[in-house]
């Protein structure tokens, strides 16, 4: 275990960025999001929840898939994938790190998504324990320990220092490069802090949510009359899906560039949008209630059904903060709680 003074972190960022592109929480126009480190950027490692999750690192909001040159009735396919160079994502919270696993189970199962895989393999992930969890956090419900995220390296911000622990070979290699900036330390302070974090988390309001009702018959949950009231206020704006670290839906579109090249790209899409499932022939989800239900059924019932009980929610609480109508997955889970009352 190593440590470095918070006041020296700029040196650390600079040192890492000499060898790798470094992505970490950066404040811009009052909002903190993952961005590429530069000396003029305002890094904000202590921000608990970036507005968007770090999933962009592997599954960008918009990404070229393939280009085409069309010449009369002839077509040429141009593979636009580049060899991905190693890069570092730093500051990843436990929930967002677990969300990578949720995405892996979509993109890394047969048939492999090489766009995602190449970036995933190239990344060195530095996580950051949550010393200051807040009320909207409920990662514990999904078995996530915010005091001890894994990743290639785990960091802990305690007092005036950042503690640094390498977990993997990749992590060791990065540590070797920047070790000159660190002093060695034992893990006593960290262990104490972890205990304190766990205590804090246990006292958060939403960490005892009961997920067992979602193990009931799929069709009973689907047909519950609760969805009507739960979704009543939903605008279908999709904000909740865009900030969510586990939402994976995408659209494939094309754009013809000025030189005539056709670029086929994918971009995030949302099951909350009415045109998501619309075809020339029909629309299986005609109401916002149906779309709202799809989002949460997928996260709490369908996805776990296909993934040994792993939920497609990590309790990051972003949807709790971002919904303009104050709707969120916490309200859904509470509504189905058998002992509980409807909210």
């Amino acid at each position: 275990m190593y440590k470095i003074k918070l006041s020296d972190l700029d040196k650390l960022y600079k040192a890492i960025s000499e060898d790798y592109p470094l992505y970490l929480p950066i404040k811009k126009a009052g909002e903190v999001n993952y961005g590429l480190y530069g000396e003029d950027e305002e890094v904000s490692l202590t921000t608990l929840k970036t507005v968007k999750s770090p999933k962009d690192a592997f599954f960008p909001q918009s990404e070229d898939l393939v280009n085409f040159k069309v010449d009369g009735n002839k077509i040429e396919v141009i593979d636009v994938r580049k060899e991905e160079q190693p890069f570092v994502v730093m500051g990843v919270r436990a929930c967002d790190f677990k969300a990578f696993d949720v995405l892996d189970r979509v993109f890394l199962v047969d048939p492999l998504d090489t766009f995602y895989q190449n970036k995933r393999n190239a990344a060195i992930v530095v996580t950051n324990a949550c010393t200051e969890p807040e009320d909207s956090c409920f990662c514990k419900v999904f078995g996530i320990d915010a005091s001890d995220p894994s990743g290639d390296i785990t960091t802990f911000i305690i007092g005036e220092n950042l503690f640094w622990r390498a977990n993997t070979e990749k992590g060791n290699a990065l540590t070797e490069k920047v070790k000159g900036l660190f002093t060695e330390t034992d893990d006593k302070i960290v262990a104490e802090e972890q205990k304190a974090i766990r205590e804090k988390i246990n006292s958060l309001p939403n960490v005892n949510l009961d997920l067992t009702p979602f193990k009931d018959e799929m069709l009973d949950i689907f047909n519950s009359e609760k969805w009507g009231k739960l979704s009543e206020a939903c605008l279908g704006c999709g904000a909740c899906t865009f900030v969510c670290p586990t939402c994976q839906c995408f659209d494939i579109r094309e754009l013809t560039k000025n030189d005539g090249t056709v670029s086929r790209f994918r971009c995030w899409d949302s099951c909350m949008y009415s045109d998501f499932t619309k075809t020339a022939g029909g629309q299986p989800r005609t109401t916002q209630m149906q779309r709202y239900r799809q989002r949460f059924m997928h996260k709490l019932v369908y996805y776990p059904e296909n993934n040994e009980g792993v939920y497609s929610c990590v309790g990051c609480g972003r949807c709790v903060k971002s919904c303009p109508m104050h709707l969120n997955i916490v309200k859904v889970i509470k509504a189905f709680d058998k002992g509980g009352k409807d909210e």
């Binding site: 979509v106 090489t114 839906c249 995408f250 494939i252 059924m297 369908y302």
Partner: protein, 276 residues
């Protein structure tokens, strides 16, 4: 760099276009080397596109036993199909696939008597499996095909049906059209009713493909006749983008229609939310 990603298509070329009905054309497709682009199973689909227009998923209409080319019967409806209907022989297209779970032709269907019921363009996915069975005749029992369309002109593959299917041993083909028309001497009436009139024994395994309303009434009719749901199959059609279970679009319950379908047994559909 790893191999070609499955979202990156190959280029193929259209070598023949046949007009089947006023709004259905059948396209013959080979790779740039003149060979069949890939091997598929009956009921599987592929993504076709003309870059700049977009991709769409179509069922592969030719049988896997055809070793020379793939065929797609495509109905004009929507943007991509409009453009496909305007192309000429020699046009290159992009292709990726094959996708989806096929009909259980080598397991569940083996040795069984089979009833195929199709309406309109619904014959497209069934043509693959029917021709497969015709070519491997000894592996299957009796076959009955009930096929209907709005008018005689709307019957897809009419020539193949008349010339080939009707001459295969133990192949019974029943055609029907919705309304009387002058040059038509065959049966007139809706598919679900005709299925009941034809009186195929309820020990047959049935495969239904066509408009939702036809499926609904045919299913009800078959159940009345004592067919069992576990012996009735159909195919689903939803909006698809990726075709490989990743983009989330075709998710119904714990299934992705592109990957876990398009072929489903009726008992499987009973366990899914009614969102298709």
């Amino acid at each position: 760099m790893n191999n070609l990603d499955c979202l990156i298509p190959i280029v193929a070329v259209v070598t023949d276009i046949r007009r089947d009905t006023p709004d259905v054309k059948t396209f013959r497709v080979v790779g740039l080397d003149g060979k069949k682009p890939f091997i598929h199973k009956p009921g599987q689909c592929a993504m076709l596109s003309i870059p700049g227009v977009g991709e769409a998923l179509f069922s592969i209409t030719s049988s896997p036993t055809n070793e020379k080319y793939l065929e797609f019967s495509i109905k004009k409806c929507g943007c991509v199909t409009e453009v496909l209907h305007s192309i000429e022989v020699g046009q290159q297209i992009t292709l990726r696939g094959p996708y989806g779970r096929p009909f259980p032709v080598d397991t569940v269907f083996a040795k069984k008597d089979l009833l195929f019921v199709a309406g309109g363009i619904g014959l497209a996915p069934l043509r693959s499996v029917i021709n497969y069975i015709r070519d491997k005749r000894e592996n299957y029992g009796k076959v009955a095909v009930v096929y209907g369309a709005r008018t005689a002109e709307d019957l897809v593959d009419y020539e193949e049906i008349e010339k080939e299917w009707k001459n295969v041993k133990d192949f019974d083909v029943y055609l029907t059209i919705d309304r009387e028309q002058p040059d038509w001497t065959g049966h007139v009436g809706f598919v679900p009713n005709y299925v009941k009139e034809v009186g195929v024994p309820n020990t047959y395994t049935a495969v239904l493909c066509g408009p939702p309303i036809m499926i609904k009434f045919t299913l009800a009719g078959l159940l009345e006749l004592g067919f069992k749901k576990e012996n009735i199959y159909t195919t689903l059609e939803l909006r698809m983008k990726c075709g490989i279970g990743k983009c989330g679009r075709c998710n119904v319950g714990d299934k992705y229609v592109c990957k876990d379908g398009p072929v489903f047994c009726m008992t499987e559909l009973d366990e899914l939310p009614d969102e298709y």
